[in-house]
């Protein structure tokens, strides 16, 4: 019997970890070296990386294709504004509250939408988002259909100058997005992640192997809702004004997110990051072409789905056998070294 060890790290993943550390440090220090406009774009990119990673978690890992996550994005925004306007609460403290509130609401919602499967589940999530939007439009104290702005006092409590406020919101966004990616990374490495993979490969086999399929999916859905709500709260903090249509915009918070993930690569953590970068590059080159931009994006997503379903990163990863986030386990025979991760 030869020695063997189960490892996860690869040479590429070690390098990537180093690069990631440098990038994160650079992003954290952005307020000191980036110009304000770039910080705004960086903040937007972080939001999309976060939203796309969450959608990827649901669809790529959980097999739950939702086209209604914008329900929770808008919910997060409205919770933040509600706490601010009605209770005068400091906005940054409300961000995690929004996450918790969304998780609580997502539980009964999941019991309804999980009665549907496949594409019907998808449309069901869209209906839920519509219900959230229509309900928000009925809440007159939060501006009803025309929306409301964050009161000056609350705005000032974030920071005394505009610059300061932008930095604070940016840092919070960075923290939340990193938290989301880290969370997904650890889920993927954990037993839960293994269970999700099993469910994705064959639900029936997973069920009979003792995996609580329904429970695992529900947990995923609730976690994704919480994440989306926190991001939604941060989005509203950046804009300082909400309306039902903008907070619950299916284009901004679902269509773009789906396209990013599809083009970047479904089912791998790196996918949403690659996709967001491509998305913003495309946006810069196609400038402000509105509908043309959406057509181009949609067309690229369709073509990608038909001919390269694993997305850009998926193609690269398979072609060069790279895995930047060390998740998959490998057995290394005859090389039992102390200190290597073992499950």
């Amino acid at each position: 019997m030869s020695d063997f060890a189960v490892t996860r790290a690869t040479p590429e993943s070690r390098i990537a970890a180093l690069v990631a550390l440098i990038v994160v440090a650079g992003l954290a220090a952005a307020p000191w070296w980036m110009e304000r406009n770039s910080i705004r774009v960086a903040g937007e990119m972080l939001i999309y990386v976060g939203l796309a990673s969450l959608w990827n978690l649901l669809a790529g890992y959980g097999g739950l294709v939702s086209v209604g996550q914008h329900a929770y994005v808008g919910l997060g925004a409205y919770i933040l504004f509600a706490f601010g306007i009605l209770l005068g609460a400091p906005p940054l403290a409300v961000v995690p509250v929004a996450g918790v509130a969304a998780a609580i609401l997502a539980l009964p919602v999941s019991m309804l939408v999980f009665r549907l499967r496949g594409a019907y589940f998808a449309i069901g999530t869209w209906v839920v988002a519509e219900v959230f939007r229509l309900t928000a439009a009925q809440v007159t104290v939060l501006g009803g259909g025309s929306g409301v702005s964050l009161p000056i006092a609350i705005v000032r409590s974030i920071g005394s100058t505009r610059e300061m406020r932008e930095f604070v919101v940016y840092d919070a966004t960075l923290a939340v997005t990193l938290g989301i990616i880290a969370g997904i990374f650890f889920i993927a490495r954990s037993r839960w992640g293994l269970a999700l993979q099993a469910i994705r490969d064959s639900e029936i086999a997973a069920e009979t192997s003792g995996v609580d399929v329904a429970g695992a999916k529900r947990l995923l859905y609730v976690a994704a809702a919480a994440g989306a709500a926190m991001l939604g709260a941060l989005i509203s903090l950046a804009k300082l004004r909400i309306t039902p249509d903008s907070a619950f915009s299916v284009n901004d918070w679902t269509a773009y997110v789906i396209f990013i993930t599809v083009i970047g690569g479904i089912g791998r953590i790196e996918g949403p990051i690659v996709g967001t970068i491509l998305f913003f590059v495309l946006r810069e080159t196609l400038a402000d072409l509105g509908p043309f931009y959406l057509i181009a994006l949609g067309a690229v997503a369709v073509v990608t789905m038909l001919f390269a379903p694993k997305g850009v990163y998926g193609l690269i990863a398979e072609r060069f056998h790279i895995q930047l986030f060390p998740i998959a386990r490998r057995v290394a025979i005859g090389a039992a070294t102390k200190g290597d991760a073992q499950e």
Binding site: Y120, P291, L294
Partner: protein, 288 residues
């Protein structure tokens, strides 16, 4: 009486929702495909009717007879060139491709026709009405819509259960591998099914254009109404879809009576209620 009137209006609009849903239901029944772009195709049909009316001067409801074959041909091509490539065990491709198509269609229409809202004029029929009793008046157009829904669903049922094409579609839906053993070309049959679906979509689009204003982004709402009608009525049953549409219409109508802003919400809540209490729908034939 007011309530009775509201219910009556709701029933009639249910016919339109059933028309929205019939094409969706047909496609799901034959190939288990849910086309997220379905609502946008209805809107596309409305604009096609607009173009036909502009060129020929025909009444929009008469233009259906030109729009339907045009949309059917488009549907056949769409299926064979696009959707046939997505069919298989994985649910992601058809879902994401139809979602992408939805966004593409909306924006092409936006570029071609701008965001101005349009409405087509069907003439006298729009204002004609029939007073059944004091306080209970039925518009002729809604009546025609409901009658058309009945006729379309009846025709589809006849096709499915009494023609060789229907037999071919049902066989392919049951077991597409064995259907090929009989000599059925399932790629062609799927194309025919989509063509039929879009012919129905053309009818729905024409009524949409005549009944109220429409804009390029009106698709998703139509998809949702159609989808809710299908789920309330039960999968795989076209008459169930009609019942589902009626229930949805009545719920919306009653909601509007309480408060105009509640119209859509009431419909959605009725759908969620059915989902909570009887998720398989009222008259299901297939399980999803």
């Amino acid at each position: 009486m007011e309530w009775l009137n509201a219910v009556a209006q709701g029933v009639l609009i249910g016919g339109l929702y059933a028309l929205f849903a019939a094409g969706l239901s047909l496609i799901f029944g034959v190939m288990r495909l849910v086309n997220i772009a379905h609502g946008d195709l209805i809107v596309l049909a409305a604009y096609v009717v607009l173009l036909i009316v502009g060129v020929t001067g025909l009444n929009p409801l008469v233009a259906i007879f030109i729009a339907a074959p045009v949309m059917a041909a488009f549907g056949y091509g769409l299926q064979r060139l696009l959707f046939n490539r997505t069919l298989g065990d994985d649910i992601l491709p058809p879902l994401l491709v139809s979602f992408g198509l939805s966004v593409i269609l909306q924006n092409i229409l936006l570029i071609a026709f701008s965001a101005d809202s349009r409405k087509l004029d069907a003439g006298a029929i729009e204002t004609a009405s029939w007073t059944l009793a004091p306080g209970l008046t039925l518009g002729l157009l809604p009546l025609l819509m409901f009658a058309t829904a009945l006729a379309v669903i009846g025709a589809l049922q006849f096709m499915f259960y009494r023609t060789s094409l229907g037999r071919a579609l049902r066989a392919t839906s049951d077991d597409q591998e064995v259907a090929r053993l009989m000599g059925y070309d399932n790629r062609h049959l799927y194309g025919v099914a989509m063509a039929l679906s879009l012919a129905v979509v053309a009818v729905a689009g024409a009524f949409l254009a005549v009944r109220a204003n429409f804009i390029p982004s009106a698709g998703p709402a139509r998809l949702i109404f159609g989808f809710e009608a299908v789920i309330i009525g039960g999968l795989g049953n076209l008459w169930g879809t009609l019942i589902g549409g009626v229930i949805l219409g009545v719920a919306q109508s009653l909601g509007a009576m309480i408060d105009p802003g509640w119209q859509l919400l009431a419909g959605h809540l009725a759908f969620l209620l059915v989902l909570a209490v009887r998720p398989q729908g009222l008259m299901p034939r297939i399980s999803a």
